[in-house]
């Protein structure tokens, strides 16, 4: 903690600061001491906690599903394989309902998004002080455990999706077709600058909205948990339990929405107008 007896705003500020390692103009490559130093580092910094937790959860996802996939057979499934098949079938159905082309990328991509985002969101249900406290005892001052409350994480994923949108748009329609789609509609060739502005904003809005929706939902949820944690301990359960139960819905829903919108955007990229 920044100080031994933090005020409410210090406590909140502390909980919303990532563990940042980066190039500080004064101290060189080092861990940031506080939000001030972290923002002074600019772009040449990395959120160690976001990366660590997200990669760990990603490995958990890959490991779990790989173990399930290894035992895959056409007989009667059981245990883990059942769960893996359930998820695969659910994603497969969602993809087939929306996307009518043929692609070996979209379904695994959707599965990865669904499970990975869900796992990252799930960290929100861990009591807000538990893991930071443990790390504090180990000498690490800042620890934000929910990667999806870091806009870098959600934006990283949505940029990945954005690159795929552009890749498929060009692959399916050709560069000419893609440029034409951006400039020749909705108002025909006499309004090219206006069309381009409109379509360009529409295109850029896809990854931005994708990232900010997930980030905003989880950030707000986390903030409310932190606010509840500021209250006297005897009223906390009264607020945190209903909020946590409601939040179960949110974390699943947000993972699902991220996945569905990815599928929709990619199927739009596959379609000719």
């Amino acid at each position: 903690m920044a100080s031994e007896n933090p005020t409410a705003s210090e406590y909140i500020q502390h909980h919303l600061t990532n563990l940042t390692y980066g190039f500080h103009p004064d101290h060189g490559w080092s861990f940031a001491h506080g939000a001030q130093e972290a923002s002074e580092m600019g772009f040449m910094a990395i959120h160690v906690d976001t990366m660590g937790w997200s990669v760990a959860l990603g490995i958990l996802f890959c490991g779990l599903f790989r173990v399930g996939a290894k035992t895959a057979h056409s007989g009667v499934p059981s245990g883990l394989l059942n769960f893996v098949e359930l998820m695969v079938e659910f994603v497969d159905k969602s993809v087939k309902e929306t996307f009518h082309g043929k692609s070996t990328v979209i379904a695994p991509l959707a599965l990865t998004i669904l499970v990975w985002v869900f796992l990252m969101n799930l960290m929100d249900l861990v009591p807000v002080d538990l893991i930071p406290y443990i790390f504090h005892a180990a000498g690490v001052d800042y620890m934000k455990v929910v990667p999806t409350t870091d806009v870098n994480a959600t934006l990283g994923m949505s940029i990945g999706v954005f690159l795929l949108i552009i890749f498929y748009s060009i692959k399916i329609k050709g560069i000419g077709g893609f440029v034409g789609e951006l400039t020749l509609q909705p108002f025909g060739k006499w309004m090219i600058p206006f069309n381009f502005l409109l379509e360009g904003v529409g295109l850029i809005a896809k990854p931005i909205s994708l990232a900010l929706r997930l980030f905003g939902n989880l950030y707000a949820g986390e903030l409310i948990f932190i606010l509840i944690a500021l209250m006297p301990f005897y009223v906390q359960w009264f607020l945190s339990v209903p909020w946590a139960i409601f939040h179960i819905l949110v974390i699943v829903l947000q993972a699902f929405i991220f996945m569905m919108l990815t599928i929709v955007y990619l199927s739009m990229a596959h379609e000719h107008h």
Partner: protein, 156 residues
């Protein structure tokens, strides 16, 4: 909120996880699912076929059973006829036999009665003679009166 290298890091991690999922998770699972789907379809087909087979087998059984039943009634009828025939024959024979036995018995009886009558007749003749002797107090020449006595005996 600081946008920084984490963005790139997340992009790379995301790509790696998607590639891993694409290569090592999705294909085996979806393959297994497709195979199971095929297996289930085959199983259902086989069940349908088995049900149809059962249906035909049942029909066949019905036919066989009908013919067997007809055969059985035939046999039974024949047996009945034969048995009544046998009984009739046996009755006829028995009646004949009984008649024969009765006839022979009657013949024997008549013979015996005749014999007894003969003996009685002789006895009566003797008794009559001895009675007559006593009455006459004299011996009667049996030879002389033989004719008379025989006539007497005949009359008895």
């Amino acid at each position: 909120m600081n946008i920084n290298l984490t963005l790139i890091g997340q992009l790379i991690a995301f790509t790696i996880f998607v590639l891993f999922c694409m290569k090592y998770v999705w294909p085996p699972v979806s393959e297994a699912l497709a195979e199971r789907q095929k297996k289930i379809a085959e199983g259902l087909d086989a069940a349908d076929k088995a049900a149809r087979d059962l249906e035909t087998a049942k029909a066949k059984i019905e036919v066989e059973l009908g013919s067997a039943r007809a055969q059985a009634t035939d046999l039974l009828e024949q047996a009945n006829k034969r048995s009544s025939q046998i009984v009739n024959e046996a009755q006829g024979k028995a009646r004949e036999e009984a008649e024969k036995i009765m006839a022979s018995a009657q013949a024997q009886m008549a013979q015996e009665v005749a014999q007894a009558r003969e003996i009685l007749r002789a006895d009566v003749a003797k008794l009559a003679i001895s009675g007559a002797e006593r009455v006459l107090n004299a011996s009667v020449d049996a030879a002389a009166h033989k004719k008379l006595l025989t006539e007497l005996a005949e009359e008895l």
